[in-house]
């Protein structure tokens, strides 16, 4: 079950919006596909991220995956635990292993994102392909 309070992207990121701050991470589906995560590369606080553009990478033993921001804005925080404990992304992708926090600039950017139910249907459909 995917948390209801989050919104989801086609690239398997999630975002939780609290007032003007969006907390962004990767979904359980993404961490399963990647396997054991060993390395995370994130922007710095103060950097700008742009909707639908890559802001970093998550690496597992076997693969590198770009991570795409659902929104445009300034990075206000990055998760301090991921540099030393990247495996947290496998253990708690929707909670403790959030990646970055971004200040929203355009609320319209989150309108086209998927709900938990939509996202579950989306990955079921992808699996069937």
């Amino acid at each position: 079950m995917y948390p209801q309070e989050l919104l989801y992207t086609k690239e398997h990121e999630w975002i939780r919006v609290d007032e003007s701050i969006g907390t962004i991470g990767i979904t359980d589906h993404a961490q399963k596909e990647l396997g054991d995560i060993v390395f995370v590369e994130l922007p710095r606080v103060g950097d700008q991220v742009t909707a639908n553009e890559s802001f970093g990478t998550v690496e597992s033993v076997k693969a590198v995956s770009e991570i795409y921001s659902p929104i445009t804005g300034e990075v206000t925080a990055i998760n301090p635990r991921l540099q030393s404990t990247p495996e947290l992304l496998n253990a708690d992708p929707h909670g403790d292993a959030w990646l970055i926090r971004v200040r929203l600039t355009d609320r319209r950017e989150i309108e086209s994102l998927m709900t938990a139910d939509d996202y579950e249907a989306y990955i079921k459909e992808k699996k069937g392909e």
């Binding site: 396997g35 054991d36 060993v38 390395f39 990478t57 690496e59 033993v61 076997k62 590198v64």
Partner: protein, 345 residues
């Protein structure tokens, strides 16, 4: 599951890291049925194999095996493979899955000898049981005299009630066995082996860990460290190049390289800054691109990020500081001795 050499294969079961560590500390079971098998028999079987491979087949005794390369005239490999000798006129090759048809056609094309070559891949399933506890586990399901079966020797044996060929060979850098047997029994042998190994912590292992294990042991992978353009000396495989055995495909070029050296060399590196140098990434010295990574990944047992690459021979010194271009950034690495990992005696 992914497509690999024409087969559907599992990348991982429980996870690459867990599987890798299981093989290094306990044991792992690999389904390697995708590998190809080619039989060479006849009065001149030895002569044919001597001509098309780099290693000295004449040194093999009955039931002994050797690692070798099937050769192109330009000194590069058609494939790397194992040759098992049953008798002077009877041999079985184990070749890479993706190269099976290519290897078979190549041997047939050069068969001007009194020998018969058959592609018998469909007659064999193959499981690899690898790790320090491999012998302990196998002893429960086979009456073969395992302590007497030395590294790179094989025998006819019954395992899990099925008759086949049992070889003390492997691609992980650990002690272990590879069992070749009829495909109709594969499910039965797989399940029985996993069951027998449960108390020892035997795990099924997929392609992902197969790759990280062989990389730590610095074993080449055809298509990465080996291809039709790379000679055996460039690839650090001079040790399977027996120039004195007589004429063989590629010998002229190899003899020249043995005398004059090579322009490029395979080296091992480990990352010294945060980052993973992966397959295909550029290798730099002093900001200039000098080569490419052929295989690179985290090494789960060693706890480092390692890789193999070709660089010009003048840069191939252990200890040299290099950089790997990781998505546009030059990240520091250092050339190290190979293999990265050697199992404790």
């Amino acid at each position: 599951m992914v497509e690999f050499g024409g087969w559907e294969m599992p990348v991982e079961y429980a996870g690459i890291t867990q599987e890798h560590l299981a093989v290094r500390t306990r044991a792992g079971l690999f389904d390697v049925s995708h590998m190809g098998e080619i039989e060479v028999r006849g009065r001149e079987a030895l002569a044919l194999l001597q001509y098309v491979t780099s290693n000295d087949v004449a040194r093999l005794k009955d039931f002994q095996a050797q690692y070798t390369a099937l050769m192109y005239p330009q000194g590069s490999a058609v494939d790397d493979c194992l040759v098992h000798r049953f008798a002077e006129n009877h041999y079985l090759l184990c070749v890479n899955a993706a190269n099976t048809d290519k290897d078979f056609d190549w041997i047939v094309r050069h068969n001007t000898f009194d020998a018969q070559v058959r592609n018998v891949s469909s007659e064999y399933s193959q499981l690899a049981l690898q790790g320090p506890k491999a012998e302990e586990i196998l002893a429960k399901v086979s009456k073969a005299d395992l302590p007497r079966l030395r590294y790179y020797w094989f025998c006819r044996a019954t395992c899990c009630g099925v008759e086949g060929l049992l070889a003390r060979t492997g691609y992980t850098g650990e002690d272990g066995f590879e069992f070749y047997f009829p495909p109709s029994e594969s499910g039965r042998v797989w399940n029985a082996m996993l069951e027998a190994g449960k108390p020892e912590g035997l795990m099924p292992v997929g392609l992902g860990a197969r790759n990280t294990l062989r990389l730590e042991a610095a074993f080449p992978l055809y298509g990465h460290e080996l291809d039709d353009q790379t000679t055996l000396f460039e690839a650090n495989l001079g040790w399977i190049c027996k120039l004195q055995k007589g004429e063989f495909l590629g010998r002229d070029i190899l003899l020249k390289q043995h005398q004059e050296g090579t322009k490029k060399k395979l080296v091992g590196f480990e990352m010294t800054e945060r980052g993973i140098g992966r397959d295909g990434y550029n290798v730099l010295t002093d900001g200039r691109v000098v080569g490419k990574v052929t295989s690179g990944s985290p090494a789960p047992f060693l706890g480092k990020n390692i890789g193999l690459a070709y660089v010009p021979t003048e840069f191939a010194q252990v200890g040299r500081e290099i950089q790997i271009d990781i998505r546009g950034k030059a990240i520091a690495a250092r050339l190290v001795n190979l293999p990265f990992y050697k199992r404790p005696k």
